[in-house]
Amino acid sequence: MRLNERNLVSYATCNSPVDKEGYLMKKGEINKGFQKRWFVLKGNLLFYFEKKGDREPVGLIILEGCTVELSPEFSDTFTFGISFQGPGCRTYVLQAESQEEMESWMKAITSAGYEYMKLMVAELNRQLEELNRIPDASSLEVIPKRSSAPAVAVGSLIDFGGENNQAAASNYETASAKRFNPFNQELSPVDEFGARPFNPASEFLSKSKDRSDSAPIAPPRKPRAVTTSEFHVPMPLTSNDISRPKTDVYLKRPRTFLEMHEEFGRQIQSRIHRSMHSSASGS
């Protein structure tokens, strides 16, 4: 398939903002060994060079329609894959040097898609419209909480509460080189798209979540009171709200990214904590 290669080569090295760059080991397609490559992520384009400072990339991975997951084959290293759906489609296998690096790349690549960016823009547009519509409204409102655990397509809402974060942080430094799944993959149910790995776009686009699909170990969340904000509009819950068309993704989205992000952080720290304990007891 043809590509406007020349333009892309210029684009790779021009002064447009770089979202992330760094060295990663990349598994060859024919030559099965790993080779060190300098990766540069710009938007949904992941270029790779033989080394930093080279003028021409060796290759490009266009990050559309892909998912990011841990590599089951290389579970004792910080290896992850970028997979594409479809017959004969390949998975790019990449290896980082640390848990942190691996996570950082996985997150960057996961949120690199064009669709994802479109959703962000649509969301901020919506927020801005709302702000413009209602100049100032302030009130305190507590929205009734659900008693069942919310469904999630990624991770699970394991509330470990009471973690000693400082201890966990220092354990992280001395922890053995065992990688953790930043998306807590093995606990996540398969979503409507039949995909297990974390895909923020599919999160957004999923229609009404079946609440009974929530991860079995998730306990009910503690209710949180809504605080005052001058921009919060007290809108009574009407049947109109509930029966909004399924295409209104904002109502159906199960969690905010901030929550998911914070969840990962807690889960990862608690897993470090647990793995330290289990290794101490000779497992």
Binding site: M1, L3, N4, E5, L8, S10, Y11, S16, P17, D19, K20, K42, G43, P57, G59, L60, I61, I62, E64, G65, F84, Q85, P87, G88, C89, R90, K107, A108, S111, Y114, E115, Y116, M117, K118, M120, E123, L124, Q127, L128, L131, I143, R146, P200, R221, P223, R224, V226, T227, S229, F231, L237, Y250, L251, R253, T256, F257, L258, E259, M260, H261
Partner: protein
């Protein structure tokens, strides 16, 4: 430069709802063949998806994907020379070769120009930054880094969880 061609070809064939625009366009190309020189306009089935303009082997939607043009650092302009009616051009930064296209009607040309004009990821990201700035000015808070706490509530059927963590954004400057 290698790229994920097979995977892109699979994407090119996805259903209509995945695309922002599609239709037949005349595309000016180098003539294939040993003894022919110069360029000709060829009709191709084209589909735009985000910042990727796919073009197919023929004007038939059932033909195979032939190529892709990734639209970053380019401008879309009217073609004043108009060798072909309803033509327009895409000019890439740092490339003196211009990519010419022609639509079948004025409406189609205008529709394509409009959509290609804002197709780049960079443009989309600038929109995001602009919206972010506007919201910041109105609320005093960054909607991405520092979302409004009133919306950080538990899931309810109508609960609007519409904030984003810095998750994907700490990498954006």
């Amino acid at each position: 430069m290698r790229f994920n061609a097979k995977e892109m070809a699979a994407l090119a064939k996805e259903p209509k709802d995945k695309f922002d625009q599609e239709g037949v366009l005349w595309v000016k190309e180098k003539q294939e063949g040993l003894f022919r020189k110069g360029e000709v306009y060829v009709q191709r089935w084209c589909r735009l998806r985000g910042n990727v303009l796919f073009y197919f082997k023929s004007k038939e939607p059932t033909s195979e994907p032939y190529g892709a043009i990734i639209l970053e650092r380019c401008t879309v302009e009217l073609d004043l020379k108009e060798e072909m009616q309803f033509s327009f051009q895409i000019v890439f930064e740092g490339d003196d070769r211009v990519q010419f296209f022609a639509a079948r009607t004025e409406e189609e040309r205008d529709a394509w120009i409009e959509v290609l004009h804002i197709a780049s990821y960079e443009c989309l990201k600038m929109q995001l930054e602009s919206l972010r700035e506007q919201i910041r000015n109105k609320t005093g808070k960054d909607p991405i880094d520092d979302p409004d706490p009133t919306v950080l509530e538990d899931n309810t059927e109508t609960g609007r969880t519409n904030q984003y963590s810095s998750f994907g954004f700490k990498f954006f400057s």
